[in-house]
Amino acid sequence: MADTLHIEITTPEKLVLSRDADYAEIPGKDGYMGILPGHAALLSELGEGKLTLTTGGKTESFTVAGGYVEVRDNHVSVLADSVE
């Protein structure tokens, strides 16, 4: 089992971010979800809110709104309508 997550955040226009992280907190439509490496395959609609990535103790956050999130084999793909 890999010990990091690979995060990809895309909007219809471009790939916003593609990098590794230890932990991701994602605003699902029905509430926040914490994703750690080894998470089972998951598919959810994305809500509006703050998406936070933690890498080696440092955090970075983005405001996302609307879209989907897919978790699979330690790959987290976020398809957002808008990212800031």
């Binding site: 895309t10 998951l42 598919l43 699979r72 793909s77």
Partner: protein, 286 residues
């Protein structure tokens, strides 16, 4: 026989035109590169959305509660909406005319259906406005800077008309960018949606039930199709213009060569004539 001065004047005019075509070719090349970059940048989202949709559609099909989504409803095609994406400007070879021809042929073949048009790009607007009455909407000047919101807005209009039952099918006519040499014409049915097939089925945990997810995925998919069509069309337009202007520049060269040859011949002829006059004049004195 044209006079020397006339020919010189024509050579100069052709040279001026050539300079313009050369500049246009260069501009198109730069714009093409930018358009291509944008098309490539949009690819990851498209790939992922298609994959998710394929999986969700499969899951929803196995879910008896999901039911049929209105955007998937196949009805007899009695009222057809044609979405025609052309460019805003010409001078791009057969780019606009080929697409218009394709769309017009489709319209002829579906004479029995009630057709309406959603036109994007000035060229298509000008053509179809004169020939057909049922224009549902026109959009011009979107291509200078393509925005996803524009595609979204147009897609929403289309979706609204389809779900309200105003139209039974929506077809999209567009130029696709395959290579720099020539655009590839494409006509595809956008609605009712043909679901993409998934290469592999993943057993996801669904946070929302698949039927609900499908309901929000399908409109997004339509928006994506429209947005992608715009990106492709713009890239193809610049490629077509570049090729056309390259051909025009080469053609101008040929014309200049021909005119130069003619000019030299005319000059030679007049010199010969003068010599004959002098010689015969001298001979007459003897």
């Amino acid at each position: 026989m044209p006079s020397l001065i006339d020919i010189r004047r024509r050579v100069r005019s052709v040279k001026n035109t050539q300079q313009i075509t050369k500049a246009m070719k260069m501009v198109s090349a730069a714009k093409l590169r930018r358009a291509q970059d944008r098309a490539i940048a949009a690819r990851p989202y498209a790939t992922m959305l298609r994959r998710i949709l394929a999986n969700v559609a499969e899951a929803a099909a196995n879910d008896p509660d999901a039911g049929a989504h209105p955007l998937l409803a196949v009805r007899p095609e009695q009222r057809i909406l044609m979405v025609v994406v052309t460019a805003d400007s010409g001078l791009a070879g057969a780019f606009n005319s080929n697409l218009i021809k394709l769309a017009h042929r489709f319209a002829d073949e579906h004479r029995n259906a009630e057709l309406s048009f959603q036109l994007i790009g000035k060229k298509g607007v000008n053509y179809f406005r004169r020939r057909f009455t049922n224009i549902a909407g026109t959009h011009t000047d979107l291509f200078r800077r393509i925005k996803y919101e524009d595609a979204e807005r147009i897609a929403e209009e289309i979706i609204a008309r389809f779900s309200a039952g105003d139209v039974d099918a929506v077809y999209l006519f567009t130029n696709e960018f395959k290579n720099v040499m020539a655009p590839v014409l494409s006509s595809t049915r956008v609605l009712p949606i043909e679901l993409p097939k998934s290469a592999e089925t993943v057993d996801y945990i669904y946070e929302q039930n698949p039927g609900e997810l499908l309901g929000s995925l399908l409109p997004r998919y339509v928006k994506l199709l429209i947005y992608r069509a715009f990106l492709e069309s713009v890239a193809a337009e610049h490629a077509a213009r570049m090729t056309a202007m390259e051909a025009a520049t080469n053609n101008a060269n040929d014309v200049i060569d021909k005119l130069t040859l003619l000019m030299n011949r005319v000059r030679q002829a007049s010199i010969t004539r003068e010599i004959i006059e002098i010689v015969s004049g001298a001979a007459a004195l003897d």
